[in-house]
């Protein structure tokens, strides 16, 4: 029994972490329909900038702030110079953001060197509580809480404000939205920066979770983030959350009971969902034509 609880909690925490990595992409890819392959690079930079600040200043909170700020700036630059010319054109988006991905990941090595970098949770988040055979690793509890806060914030922003509507409308028909008096460029820029900032937060929190950061996490987890957004249903924050938790928990159980297929479990899940429910778990857009 305890074992099941442990596995579930750990899966939940991993899922929440994945959600944090994917949340920004829910906005950028799911909502704005930008195939942003540089998303991985964003949380890579978030991780490096954050962890570097954290280790030099000694303050975890400073680290988080630095990660978010760094990624917001990067997000601004990316949007202005890379993404803006290619809104609405997927193929060009793939190429140009992939280019940005390559440059940014490689720059990480130039700035911080090619070695892996150690990242530890701050003193107050280290260790675990043990309650009758059930482990509560502090850092994971922390991740779960942050994930919930981000989730609630996003839901509020998208459902209680006009922002979500405007972005979705802008993706469908940019000209019309402008003709209705909305500065869609600014809105897109804002949402992009917001998504980037969340990627930064995700990247920063990833560091102490895995213990290390290295230049390749960008691509590895970037793809995972895409998977989560797709199976959650494009543009649905709730869907992304469910999908991320599903990936986390399923991965956790698979690693325990079916280690042979653990490697493939994300992909099997995606195939299964897309074949049987092509719009994703909470899809608003039909994936079927």
């Amino acid at each position: 029994m305890e074992m099941f609880i442990n596995i579930t909690i750990n899966g939940l925490a991993t899922g929440m972490l994945i959600f944090l990595l994917a949340a920004g992409l829910t906005l950028i890819f799911g909502l704005m329909d930008v195939l942003n392959f540089a998303h991985g690079a964003l949380f890579l930079w978030g991780a490096y900038a954050g962890i570097w600040t954290y280790t030099t200043s000694g303050s975890f909170i400073f680290g988080i702030i630095a990660a978010i700020v760094a990624c917001c700036i990067l997000g601004y630059l990316l949007e202005r110079f890379i993404v803006k010319p290619v809104y609405g054109n997927h193929i060009q988006q793939i190429l140009i953001t992939l280019g940005a991905m390559l440059v940014l990941s490689e720059l990480v090595k130039v700035v911080w060197g090619p070695n892996i970098i150690h990242a530890r949770a701050p003193e107050w988040l280290r260790g675990s509580w043990e309650i009758g055979g059930i482990f509560l690793i502090k850092y994971r509890v922390f991740i779960i809480i942050v994930g919930l806060i981000v989730f609630a914030g996003l839901l509020f922003l998208l459902n209680r404000t006009k922002l979500g509507l405007v972005v979705r409308a802008g993706v469908m028909d940019k000209e019309m939205v402008q003709a209705l008096g909305i500065n869609i460029r600014k809105v897109f820029l804002f949402v992009f920066i917001l998504g980037a900032g969340m990627a930064g937060l995700g990247g920063m929190l990833f560091g102490p979770y895995s213990g290390v950061i290295y230049a390749e996490i960008g691509l590895e987890y970037g793809i995972l983030a895409f998977i989560v957004v797709v199976i959650g249903g494009m543009g649905s924050v709730l869907g992304s959350m469910i999908a991320a938790l599903l990936v986390g928990i399923l991965g956790s159980y698979a690693a325990y009971f079916l280690p042979e297929i653990a490697l493939a479990v994300n992909f099997l899940l995606m195939i299964f969902i897309l074949v049987f429910k092509p719009s994703g778990i909470m899809g608003m857009k039909e994936a079927l034509k």
């Binding site: 195939l35 890379i82 010319p85 290619v86 997927h90 193929i91 060009q92 793939i94 190429l95 140009i96 992939l98 280019g99 940005a100 991905m101 390559l102 440059v103 940014l104 990941s105 490689e106 720059l107 090595k109 130039v110 793809i223 895409f226 998977i227 797709v230 494009m234 042979e260 490697l263 493939a264 994300n266 992909f267 099997l268 995606m270 195939i271 897309l274 074949v275 092509p278 039909e286 994936a287 079927l288 034509k289």
Partner: protein
Amino acid sequence: MSRLKQLSRFKLTLSVVAVGLLMFPFINDSRTAMIMLTKIFIFAVFAMSYDLLLGYTGIVSFGHAMYFGIGAYTVALCLKAFGPTIPVVLLAALITIVFTAIVSFLVGLLTLRLKAHFFAMLTLAVAALFLVVAEKWRSLTAGNDGFTFAIPELFRDRLTFYIVALVFMILVYLFLERFTQSPMGRVLQAIRENEARVESLGYRVMHYKITANVIAGIVAGLAGILYAMSLRFVNTSVFATELTLDALLITIIGGVGTLFGAIVGAAVIEYARHTLMDLASVHWIFGRWVILLGTVFILVVMFFPKGIVGSTKHWWEKRQMKKAKVTTSDKNFHQDVS
């Protein structure tokens, strides 16, 4: 009329290039250059097969490497199991064709009814499954380390292999060129534009898409065979997403929807990679050639969104149009012919 001339001039150029490449090894016998060119040919074939999907049918696949990998592993395993003879290579080609055809057919059936992103993601997943199998089925594949194997005596000579690869590329180019300009190829282009509409014109769209997918799969598989034979080694990287991304980048840099672009793209990227790295001693940035590559992608999208070949063509046509404007009397004549 000038369009006819222009066409034949293009074909003439192509033929000259082809002959030039055929002669190349007899003029310059640097094996490094030969190996690089061989690799360019192989990747050009792979990218052309990708372009058939991306440029002509509007399908973005992130799993194209799976066909490439199937070809590579098939030939590697056959040669290892049955010995390095030419009949074994032919057998491997046959198996590859059958296997890639089946896989691409099934994958197409399963996924082609989905919209672009979703199709892309699903192919990514299926390809990842192949990667996992290659990784896990260690008794057969030796896992991610991979294994080496011997190839038939004939192909061991880099020159012979160079010519084989070149001829193969030319054949594939001619075949795909014809195919894309055929009535069926035009239907594929229409599908890219407006799928629902093609359907209501009475076309069985799925049949067309699956056919395109199967042809692309088979060609990619054959490219994989050549690739493995050029290395005499195979490991799981032939199934990696990076490989698909390579094909994607080559296609886009060369020019989407222009088969010739795939060849140019492969040449440019391969050559750039080759020479830039050598400049590492001049400035560190050349050692970090990935940064340069990425910058090039960005610049290409910004300034040559149609890729090298597409942009050149565009520029050429514009020039022609300007010319035509000057001699407006010619204009009607133009239209009659075209």
